[in-house]
């Protein structure tokens, strides 16, 4: 049994202008001690997936359907008490912005000790010892002094280390890291990634790494889920995703990163703008921007196709019958004008 099993999770935000399906049927599982990466662009639903697992969605968002099983225990629809005992001690989360996720009016020690006392049966003295131990572990010098300091007295990198210390103090089985290094400089990012890797190996916990940075994915993860418009468009090991991508979006994403010098030629961007979540295309969400889009892509969503035991993708390109025919079955046939109008659907300016 997997440590964490997410099945067909759907999370929507019910806004005044309509339902936004931020996460639209995503499934994955996480084994003990593994690092899973969730990669996607802004608005792809990667953070919402993380928040859904923790059940810390803010209004007007809520989980519509699906199941999240932690060690076999269902979390969707679980009562507050179960969730409270799960958060912190079994799953912890670190957020993107170390500047705003610590409370500015309490000392570091106050916040850290509170978290430890809440989730473990330690008394104040033991919790303080544990806090000092954790601060040392994340590589901050002079831990006793740090406990008395306020967040503003520390630098961004140090604050992120404190966040990590807080998240790991109760030895969770799973750590969810939501863009943990995006707000940091590269040299500090390298420190934090190195630290997370070291702690992961020592403590044997599993990590869900949510990021938009493909470089971070490569340096940290075993498996990757690529998200686009709320769906997992491709899933696989790092090598499968980076060397043998099977979804047109993943291919486009990899082509658009600058690898080398000017001499290597122009970048190949993905055309068009990100999808408007309130006004989703009828077929594959990526089809308006896809240069390989066939008629069926504009008409129908593709199911997830299992390519190897570990690699799956939801792209019509992998369905041989669809590629062979190109024109698809008569009942699915669409006219040239309809094709053109569907194709143009991606080029309009999204009105907010």
């Amino acid at each position: 049994m997997s440590l964490l099993e997410v099945k067909d999770l759907r999370t929507s935000f019910f806004t005044d202008s309509g339902e936004v399906k931020a996460v639209d049927g995503i499934s994955f599982s996480l084994e003990k001690g593994k690092v899973l990466g969730i990669v996607g662009e802004s608005g792809s639903g990667k953070s919402v997936t993380a928040y859904s697992i923790m059940q810390i969605l803010s209004y007007p968002g809520r989980i519509v359907s699906g199941s999240i099983k932690l060690d076999g225990e269902e979390l969707v629809g679980a009562d507050k008490k179960t969730l409270r005992s799960m958060r912190g001690s079994k799953i912890s989360i670190i957020f993107q912005d170390p500047m705003t996720s610590l409370n500015p009016v309490f000392t570091i020690g106050n916040q850290l000790i509170e978290a430890i006392m809440l989730h473990t049966p330690r008394n104040r003295k033991e919790a303080t010892e544990r806090a000092i131990e954790m601060i040392t572990l994340v590589g901050i010098n002079d831990p006793a002094k740090r406990l008395k300091q306020y967040p503003h007295e520390l630098s961004g990198g140090m604050r992120q280390r404190i966040m990590i210390a807080m998240a790991l103090a109760c030895e969770p089985d799973i750590l969810i890291a939501d863009e943990p290094t995006t707000a940091l400089d590269v040299t500090i990012q390298a420190q934090i990634l190195e630290l997370m890797k070291k702690l992961q190996e020592e403590m044997g916990m599993a990590i869900i790494m949510v990021t938009h940075d493909l470089g971070v994915i490569v340096s940290m993860c075993d498996e990757v889920v690529v998200m686009y418009a709320g769906k997992a468009c491709e899933k696989g090991s790092v090598d499968e995703i980076f060397y043998d991508p099977k979804h047109e979006y993943t291919k486009g994403l990899l082509r658009s990163i600058p690898y080398g010098s000017k001499a290597l030629g122009r970048l190949i961007p993905i055309s068009g703008s990100p999808v408007d979540m309130l006004n989703m295309p009828q077929g594959c969400a990526f089809s308006p921007r896809c240069d390989k889009a066939m008629k069926i892509c504009l008409k129908e969503k593709c199911e997830i196709v299992q390519l190897t035991p570990t690699h799956s993708a939801a792209c019509w390109v992998n369905v041989k019958e669809a590629v062979d025919r190109k024109e698809i079955l008569p009942d699915r046939e669409i006219s040239e004008e309809e094709y053109a109008s569907l194709k143009n659907g991606g080029e309009h300016i999204e009105r907010s």
């Binding site: 040299t187 490569v218 990163i257 080398g260 010098s261 290597l264 055309s271």
Partner: protein
């Protein structure tokens, strides 16, 4: 950038300084040396990439170059002429413009996109009739890949990538020779980022533009720049041709900076060794004595805390400031 053409220097900056007075306590102030004596040249039609961590002074350097902040000290030569008087400055500003980092806050939400792009034309009196202004705005919008029909819309109706196009069109309005691009793609998603980078390159080719490209993303800078200057605490620590600096970084800071970038290629990532620096960037209010990098440098020795190293030409066209290179 053909080899045959004689390279002409468009901008030359000598010993540019920007110090801010920061109040500390009552009636007391401290000098924040944001930019502390940097010198560089940019050839016509080329791109100089300026990289460094946050707080290293790269943005201030770009802004001071355009006199958005009055420089504390230093000289700026444009097309061989020094920019000093008010008239010279005005002329310089017609030839140099800026693209800002945040496409959300750098566009006035109350102005239509057409008026945003047309504002530099108004300021510099670059048209005689309304039609002329209109035509120029439409021309600029087409140039950056926006439909001219959208001129009457407001910025919030556009996506991030499109907003950045508006920002670029505004920068192009005065037909500048130099554009200072301050982190123009860092707020954009990867797929959109590539669109904008390509557009910068196309415009450079079409209009013969010269860029000072400020960014923290080394992969982007490597792709777009001919030359790269690395800044640390207000000083340039290394400067060389873009490929040269990646293949053979001479300064320990550049070396660790390059190795810290996580490679998006699994094979390269597995084979590369990361040099992880310890500690944080010191506060620019309290710059360490001697070499500013010595507190984090894995190779620091006695002399580093005493003498300040100066940027010098270590190899042809490869400048670095490090005592280790003196042997």
């Amino acid at each position: 950038m053909s080899e045959a053409k004689e390279k002409e220097v468009l901008v030359e900056v000598i010993n540019l300084k920007q110090h801010f007075e920061i109040p500390v306590g009552f009636l007391k102030s401290k000098k924040l040396k944001a930019v502390d004596g940097i010198s560089f040249k940019i050839n016509k039609g080329e791109t100089l990439g300026l990289v460094g961590e946050s707080g290293c002074g790269k943005t201030t350097a770009g802004r001071t170059l355009l006199h958005l902040y009055e420089p504390t000290d230093g000289q700026i030569f444009f097309n061989g002429k020094e920019v000093v008087t008010k008239e010279e400055l005005e002329e310089f500003r017609q030839n140099a413009s800026m693209v800002f980092q945040d496409p959300y806050s750098s566009l006035n939400p109350r102005m239509t996109v057409g008026d945003i792009i047309g504002e530099p034309l108004d300021v510099h009196n670059l048209y005689t009739t309304r039609q002329q202004r209109e035509a120029r705005i439409h021309e600029l919008m087409e140039l950056v890949g926006l439909s001219s029909e959208h001129a009457t819309r407001y910025a919030h109706e556009f996506s991030g990538g499109q907003r950045q196009r508006v920002g670029i069109a505004r920068a192009l309005a005065v037909s500048p020779q130099l554009i200072v691009c301050d982190e123009p793609v860092s707020a954009l998603d990867v797929s959109i980022q590539a669109q904008i980078i390509n557009m910068f390159e196309d415009l450079q080719e079409k209009l013969g533009l010269t860029y000072l490209f400020i960014a923290h993303d080394l992969l982007v800078v490597r792709h777009i720049s001919d030359k790269i200057a690395v800044m640390y605490l207000g000083k340039i620590v290394e400067m060389a041709d873009s490929e040269e600096i990646f293949k053979k970084p001479l300064h320990p800071y550049t070396e660790s900076l390059m190795s810290a970038v996580p490679s998006p290629d699994p094979e390269t990532a597995r084979n590369s060794k990361r040099i992880v620096l310890t500690g944080d960037v010191p506060s620019p209010l309290d710059i360490p004595s001697g070499c500013p990098f010595r507190t984090r440098c894995p190779k620091a020795f006695d002399r580093c805390s005493i003498d300040v190293p100066y940027l010098r030409e270590v190899e042809p066209n490869h400048f670095a400031s490090c005592h280790l290179l003196d042997k």
